[in-house]
Symmetry: C2
């Protein structure tokens, strides 16, 4: 535990989790939210209901009849739009891999209490909506705009601060044609838990960016300083520094666990026969360039074969032939490298990241070969 | 801890969970499986993706092209049917509330390790398929049949025993017209995690009965004695007795937590104003006759107003007007009684039920009124 962690810990002692177990309040989050069972890596587009889901506060209960979206702030023509008006605009479909910024957090001994993800907080969906920038252009973005703020209907208390869930992106990101306001997932209207009637989808960014249950969009002249931007999703590297805001997804690779599971431990049991290991890898920073597999706990690595991703912002499938010849215990691992040279570390997180944000430690699967 | 528990515990010490925390392997189950966020109580039929989901082993990956269902055992005409043949039979839609038999388990100090549900392991779906008995009649059930066994494609190890997931129901239950082989949920084909391409749905019974990813249906002359029937879902009341098999759902009522949540603790914050408490109650034993609400931690109880259930096997909505006048902490509770007189106990489970099966303790919501 670093000096920073110690300082933050002393500030708020009851925000910290136990090192080797999970508390009942962390379990309360795990029971509500859910990861994607790794069998879901079999699909280009994750079936509805298997995609990971994190709800900070409550799933909002919104009637389409009374809902409308407010567009305001630093624009020429503030406006209010119905869902019908939004869905009559040009349609855009984006296949997007989305991962929670806290994926892997539960493996960190010195973590702060939050949703205790192991490694399953990911999924890929086909989102349909309309381009954000087209809508903002209609409203007339004024000179001097720096960010676009998304405010949801979900409200609660976190870190002692009561607030609506809201986050911003820079104007340069908002201009990307693939950033959409989505009203459909996998070809059907958003279900309540994915943000009905409208959410923003910002490909390549971690999940917290994709604000659900949109109430308003506000063009800002100054950077947004709200809780979910500068406290909730910021890595504090020293008590004095403002910290590093979490943005795009670091590379990660996951594997469909081979063989059959033991119910409680999820340890896998496989046979001495040729089998195909399969998984998916993604990065929000650049296309996936390489996936390597180790079947000896990381001592040696071998290249996996990559398949085509389902889209420029979707994960890349990989496969690897494995034929264990000796009975015994194997630690299978995979690691991804993207075209910009970003890789995956062995350690899940450094000591100065107690929220476990944007950590991308290597996934390990324990297999007993019989 | 009773003598029975002590005996079972000494047999298999590593099957037991810690009293006041959750282990990483229990968390591994909680991250894969998920309850229904209690906001889901707002809907007659739970939106797809919010319904609780427990997968014992893996989500099976099945292609409709190669799949078929085998019907055999004690029948005149063993047969093999394609999905097309099954879905061309008479259609039946059933709105069914389904709850995991282990709901509430995580609140039990002396529990065995398993999926650590708090109270959210429930959901209601509209299932469409064809009546089981019609199909069995076509196969010609022979005299002397006592049970019908359902075998899934999911295979794994539990309690040290490797097995396919399979469970049986008595022939008298199989004859009920509302017991169906379902290929649709909420009007669309089953997604993989709900048992694609076909599962059995037995209204009123706990969730483990509703075998997913069906491979075969076998009519039996002797009761089935497999792991999931006589070990996994049996309450052992003494080391000598065979125990009590878990069957139909005990009554339970849950409440949509009012106000807004604190992110980690899920403690609720509400205002001193009139508000409508809402929830749902169900029982597999008889219709819901009464729901009572306490706003003082169970000291006094008041009748809630019941609404019409969405079907004879679906939960009953209730509502209750509450206007807290003093700031402070409130414990809100609800309890259901069914028409057969079955109620809910205060304690989640007795000491002789270490798996926490069919326990139906009263749900309590902590609310801070400001």
């Amino acid at each position: 535990v670093s000096a920073t962690n110690t300082a933050i810990r002393e500030e708020n002692p009851n925000w910290w989790a136990d090192a080797n177990s999970v508390s009942l309040d962390e379990l309360g989050l795990a029971a509500r939210n859910h990861g994607m069972p790794l069998e879901g890596l079999a699909y280009d587009v994750t079936p509805l209901g298997m995609h990971y889901l994190l709800t900070h506060f409550d799933v909002s209960e919104i009637s389409e009849d009374t809902w409308s979206l407010e567009i305001g702030g630093h624009v020429e023509h503030p406006q209010r739009l119905t869902l019908e008006e939004i869905s009559s605009r040009p349609r855009s479909t984006q296949v997007v891999t989305m991962e929670c910024a806290g994926n892997g957090r539960a493996r960190i001994a010195g973590r702060m209490k939050s949703q205790p993800w192991l490694e399953e907080a990911v999924g890929t969906a086909s989102w349909t909506g309309t381009a954000l920038w087209g809508l903002l252009e209609s409203a007339g973005v004024k000179d001097g705009a720096v960010e676009v703020l998304f405010t949801g209907f979900d409200r609660g208390i976190q870190g002692g601060v009561e607030h609506d869930y809201e986050r911003s992106i820079p104007v340069a990101e908002a201009r990307r044609s693939e950033v959409i306001l989505a009203y459909e997932i996998n070809g059907r209207p958003l279900p309540p838990q994915h943000g009905f009637p409208l959410r923003v989808v910002v490909p390549d960014w971690y999940g917290m960016t994709n604000v659900k249950w949109l109430r308003s969009i506000t063009v800002l002249k100054e950077p947004f300083r709200g809780f979910q931007q500068v406290t909730g999703y910021t890595i504090r590297t020293s008590p004095e520094s403002p910290g590093i805001e979490v943005t795009k997804m670091q590379p990660r690779s996951l594997m469909i666990p081979p063989g059959i599971p033991e119910f409680v431990s999820r340890v896998r049991y496989a046979t001495r026969s040729a089998q195909q290991l399969r998984g998916r890898a993604w990065s929000g920073l650049a296309p996936i360039a390489r996936v390597e597999v180790s079947v000896d706990g990381g001592r040696t690595w071998d290249d996996a074969i990559l398949g085509p991703p389902a889209g420029p912002h979707a994960w890349t499938p990989w496969s690897y032939s494995w034929e264990p010849r000796e009975p015994g215990e194997y630690q299978l691992q995979s690691r991804a490298t993207d075209a910009a040279g970003n890789g995956q570390p062995f350690l899940p997180v450094d000591a100065d990241n107690p929220q476990g944000l944007a950590n991308n430690g290597i996934h390990s699967v324990r297999v007993i070969v019989r």
